[in-house]
């Protein structure tokens, strides 16, 4: 990857974090940790990998994104606003009565959101169904699925992975946000998940592990999924919950947290400095 493109993707990821925090700050608190940890992969997906049309969100041949960890909705909304799916100012309606931006992703409310998620595990089967449906319709598009590491404790995930593998859904790419934390603490404390790479390989996925904060590594991993084939793909994103904002990264219980005015000022100052360094 050219250095310039790398910097642009890093800047996009930083802008996603800023947009996400702006949305969450406007309502006072939200799922900061797991939104920050997928900002880099969202930047690569929308910045270079996915074919979408912001002016035609329901374009049937688009690539689909299912964010099964639906509580990361604000990061998706930040991304979609930056992409032009809806006005940036609308981010400040997050979770307010009548909003198009509810806490968890809803395909019937938000332009650009492809699936309704929030009850963990369910997005995995929906993504498999979408991939199968697109394949049966003869479409050449792909389905990307972001699933949380704690979410993988849901049995439905494993049912859907068996299915995707059996049905040879080479048009499905599963991105596991391995940020090592869930609501009640670390995965190790709550329910250890073992080796995701070995597990996904055992379920028949073509699997790689990359640094979930490295846009270049994510891009390379995604590029190798373009060929399709008979195996679905898994990319284990070795990520940090709260990535990109030092204070959040250093907060043990950072699944959902208040974003006070003071925190917002400090956190956005750090992100803006990063942005300046990238674009300055």
């Amino acid at each position: 990857m050219e250095l310039q493109e790398k910097k642009e993707l890093q800047a996009f990821a930083t802008r996603i974090r800023l947009a996400t925090l702006e949305a969450i700050h406007s309502i006072g608190s939200g799922h900061v940790g797991g939104a920050m940890s997928i900002s880099d992969v969202l930047a690569v997906l929308y910045g270079r990998e996915m074919h979408v049309k912001p002016e035609d969100p329901k374009w049937p041949d688009r690539d689909y994104l299912v964010v099964s960890k639906g509580h990361a909705g604000p990061a998706v909304y930040g991304t979609l606003a930056l992409m032009g799916f809806f006005p940036y100012e609308e981010l400040k309606t997050l979770n307010r009565g009548g909003t198009r931006l509810p806490s968890h992703c809803d395909r019937n409310k938000t332009p650009g959101v492809d699936m309704t998620t929030g009850s963990l595990g369910q997005g995995t089967s929906q993504a498999a169904g979408l991939a199968l449906g697109n394949k049966l319709k003869g479409r050449k598009n792909r389905v990307f699925l972001i699933v949380g590491d704690g979410e993988m404790q849901e049995g439905q995930c494993w049912e859907s992975f068996l299915f995707a593998s059996a049905k040879k859904l080479g048009n499905l790419v599963v991105l596991i946000d391995w940020n090592k934390k869930q609501l009640d603490g670390t995965l190790e404390e709550v329910l250890p998940m073992g080796d995701f790479v070995a597990k996904m390989e055992a379920f028949g996925f073509d699997t790689v592990k990359v640094d979930g904060g490295d846009v270049e590594a994510i891009a390379a991993a995604l590029e190798r999924t373009r060929n399709g084939g008979e195996k679905p793909y898994a990319i284990v994103l070795d990520s940090i919950k709260g990535h990109g904002v030092t204070e959040v990264e250093n907060t043990a219980m950072n699944h959902s947290m208040p974003v006070t005015d003071e925190r917002y000022a400090n956190w956005t100052a750090e992100l803006k400095a990063k942005l300046n360094a990238l674009e300055g």
Binding site: Q122, S125, A128, L130, G133, E159, L162
Partner: protein, 320 residues
């Protein structure tokens, strides 16, 4: 056209074969229809057909929750999915998936739950859904059907694939008493009067229609005139028909092969309470779990026979 041909005889067809044949013809006529099962294709009469239609007959294995979610994804991709499992698994085991991935997300799915209530017979209490109706009634906008006979089953299944929302059809796999002429149209949401009467209105569905007709004949011989109304559409209930017959007769008995709580009885009581309060009673499962046995044994055990309907008709008449 709806033609009533009830004479107490059994329809020679197995309902599972009617499911299989109807699904096959739906797929033949509409490439967007797709059928999913969870290792029970031989029970839904689709197994042989599935071998030659591998792109429209998807066996998901013993993973019902995933099947429901895959169906939601297929709907989002432009398909009209029909999924099948036994009524227990097609309702409570996949409830959150049907509720959220299906109903809430507006991914339209037709669900067939076989072996409702006591028709689960030899599979016993673990496989005996008395609660499936209540669960599906609680999904906003859902359509809930207790099929009357093979003709009704074929008619409603055809309508369901193009009907928005979650559609749940409960039906036994085996034989039913024949109610309607083959090819009859049974519009969803319209109750059908099988027999007119003046003293008590019996609203029934599914296997209880045959019991209700037997009870009405026996009661007529005793000088009691009963209307029998087929409420195969439990939700949306045909409130106008319920109101009209309740007003005509002034007393109501509801007969259903399900728990008395949350099913057809409740749907009808809502109409009566709001539009025309009259004495009512039910013949239904009295808030119990299922158990193993022949259908005849179980109908006696849970009080789901013509004799039980007769007794309730007399009880409700005494309260008029």
């Amino acid at each position: 056209m709806t033609k009533i041909v009830y004479n107490g005889e059994t329809d020679p067809r197995l309902c599972k074969d009617v499911i299989g044949g109807t699904v096959a013809s739906l797929v033949e006529n509409d490439p967007d229809v797709i059928f999913l099962d969870a290792d029970l294709m031989s029970c839904s009469g689709t197994l042989k057909w599935s071998k030659t239609h591998t792109d429209r007959a998807i066996d998901c294995g013993i993973a019902e929750a995933n099947m429901a979610g895959v169906a939601a994804g297929l709907a989002a991709a432009g398909f009209k999915p029909i999924i099948h499992s036994f009524g227990t698994f097609a309702s409570r085991r996949i409830y959150d998936q049907i509720f959220l991935s299906g109903g809430y997300a507006k991914n339209d799915i037709t669900v067939i739950g076989t072996d409702p209530g006591v028709t689960a017979t030899m599979n016993g209490g673990t496989h005996m859904p008395f609660e499936d109706v209540a669960l599906y009634n609680a999904i906003p906008g859902a359509t809930v059907i207790d099929a009357s006979d093979p003709a009704c089953l074929a008619s409603v299944l055809k309508q369901c694939v193009d009907r928005p929302g979650i559609k749940y059809i409960r039906v036994g796999r085996k034989q039913y008493a024949r109610i309607y002429e083959d090819g009859s149209d049974l519009p969803i949401g319209k109750a059908v009067t099988l027999r007119e009467g003046t003293d008590v209105a019996i609203f029934a569905a599914g296997i209880m229609l045959h019991e209700a007709m037997k009870a009405a004949a026996a009661l007529e011989a005793q000088g009691i005139s009963c209307a029998v109304v087929d409420c195969f559409t439990i939700k949306p209930i045909d409130a106008d028909a319920v109101e009209a017959w309740a007003k005509t007769c002034g007393a109501v008995v509801v007969a259903e092969n399900a728990n008395r709580h949350g099913g057809l009885y409740d749907m009808i009581l809502e109409v009566l309470a709001e539009r025309c309060p009259v004495p009512a009673a039910c013949v239904a499962v009295e808030d119990e779990f299922g158990e193993v046995g022949t259908q005849g044994y179980l109908q006696e055990r849970f009080g789901l026979t013509a004799a039980h309907i007769e007794a309730q008709v007399k009880a409700v008449l005494a309260r008029k």
